[in-house]
């Protein structure tokens, strides 16, 4: 069933995140079909493919957000650092604290300040130590390359920032809870070219400390910013390889057709 090109090349000896034969459904609709994919620690992995091929759905199975949709169903196994996140007794809330997410549309929480937005994952988990919160906020904002722009107006509403700044705020918010893995679903598709470039730069910085899995429609972006790229087509993982190789020397006909712009 699984095509030969599906396996990671070269194999990843100690993946931080590993999906095994993942199937995802919306009621009877089979959206993700038997996807197995290993993610290398401290890397950026890009998921590409035509619209509707199941990239977002697959991504959302990786932090158990898929199951929040009514009628959604999941089969398979996903391990984070060797532990099955769908295992018995695993709490999705705990899983999501370790696997953060950044969405397509910047979505700072309404009527929270910039500062409150960044540390909300901690404050709502009961952290009260001001020093710790202040340090975390500064670190996360510096890490997401937003600190210099907002350090004088941390009390301003998060929604008062520009779209690109809001998206970096959302990245800071995800970073603040220190997840080892961050998933990003087309984080730049609602942004202007300059904001996009800033976030692309950021990816290179981020991977020193976290592992990033990013869905993108922008093939230049995938080629520029990712270490590995996975090409999805009609719910299946068609090809998964080092980005340098996948974009220059695709093994599958469909991959080649897609990256040369012949469909999708």
């Amino acid at each position: 069933m699984t095509p030969a090109t599906n396996a990671a090349k070269p194999p990843i000896p100690e993946p931080i995140l590993s999906a095994k034969d993942v199937n995802a459904y919306f009621n009877a609709f089979h959206a993700v079909r038997g996807v197995s994919l290993d993610v290398e620690p401290n890397s950026v992995t890009a998921l590409i493919g035509p619209s509707g091929c199941g990239k977002s759905t697959f991504l959302r199975t990786l932090n158990r957000l898929h199951e929040e949709i009514p009628g959604a169903r999941f089969e398979g196994e996903v391990t984070l650092e060797g532990e099955n996140i769908y295992g018995r007794g695993m709490d999705p809330v705990q899983v999501r604290r370790k696997i953060g997410m950044v969405f397509q549309k910047p979505n700072p929480f309404p009527s929270l300040s910039i500062y409150e937005n960044v540390v909300v994952g901690l404050t709502l988990a009961g952290v009260k130590d001001r020093r710790l919160l202040d340090e975390t906020a500064e670190r996360a904002l510096k890490h997401s390359a937003l600190w210099d722009e907002v350090k004088d107006k941390l009390r301003a509403p998060g929604t008062s920032l520009s779209g690109g700044q809001q998206q970096r705020l959302c990245i800071a918010r995800a970073l603040a809870v220190k997840p080892p893995v961050i998933l990003m679903d087309e984080p730049t598709s609602a942004l202007d070219p300059i904001s996009t470039a800033r976030i692309e730069e950021l990816l290179g910085e981020l991977k020193k400390e976290v592992t990033v899995v990013i869905v993108t429609h922008n093939m230049q972006q995938a080629a520029r910013c990712s270490d590995r790229t996975a090409f999805f087509f009609m719910g299946e993982l068609v090809e998964y390889d080092r980005s340098t190789r996948l974009f220059t020397n695709p093994q599958d006909k469909r991959t080649e057709q897609y990256i040369t712009g012949r469909f999708g």
Binding site: E68, R96, K105, P110, S111, G121, L124, A125, R173, A174
Partner: protein, 285 residues
Amino acid sequence: MTFQDVYAKLDARRTIVNRLMLGLLGLASLVAILPLVFVLYYVVHRGIQGLNLSFFTQLPKPVGETGGGLGNAVLGTLVLVGLGSAVGVPIGIASGVFLSEFKRSRFAPWLRSAVELLAGVPSIILGIFAYAVLVVPLHGFSAAAGALALAIILIPTVAKTTEEVLKLVPDHIREAGLGLGLPRWKVILRIVVYGSRSGILTGVMLGVARISGESAPLLFTALNSQYWPRGLLAPISSLPVQIYTYAISPFDDWTQLAWTGSMVLVLFVLVANLLMRAILGGKKA
């Protein structure tokens, strides 16, 4: 005729229509505001003469004696509205949150129909309900029954506005909360509801303003009383009922008290509204 000519003609027409429509809008706004201005002016004009400290501190005097006030009615309205809100607001907000955040639950359509029906029931009928469940079994009119009637009037208003306000929060905000590793109840209460608190409070304010002026459902629940409030199980006076009683009385000083009572009631609602707006407006900016 060239294109330029056609466009010039169209532009001239568009400008005129534009001005005309703007004028009509202005006129409509004026017509909408006018009653408010007139009511305020007239009520204050007639009411201000009777306004003094004893209005708030004294009981009504029997016919023939001069002076006296509506202190018991002012206090009674505060008690009834406070008690009704204390019961109605939490239930209303909780219902609204349920309708918005658990709309797929099997119970939601029932609750929604109930809320919509309740919103459409005339307040006097809700008074009859309170009469049947509290006045009849307890063998007497009571503040508690009045407060219950007001609470029931408040619930659908608050529930509907809460639901509408929460529905404006896009789903991806909720997903972002879940994605941070927050449990669903915290996402709902601390992010969705907290983020919408100004909208919810506006709904609460409108509801409270409405029940402050209700008289019909109080007529056969709280009834009226010439004394200071004497507990929740005794009849209690309220401004709307007292105004009703005194306004139709043939005595001049009673009618004056009714006017002053009306002024106090209207100003209370107005000031509460403006205060709330000022507080929330300041927060939002």
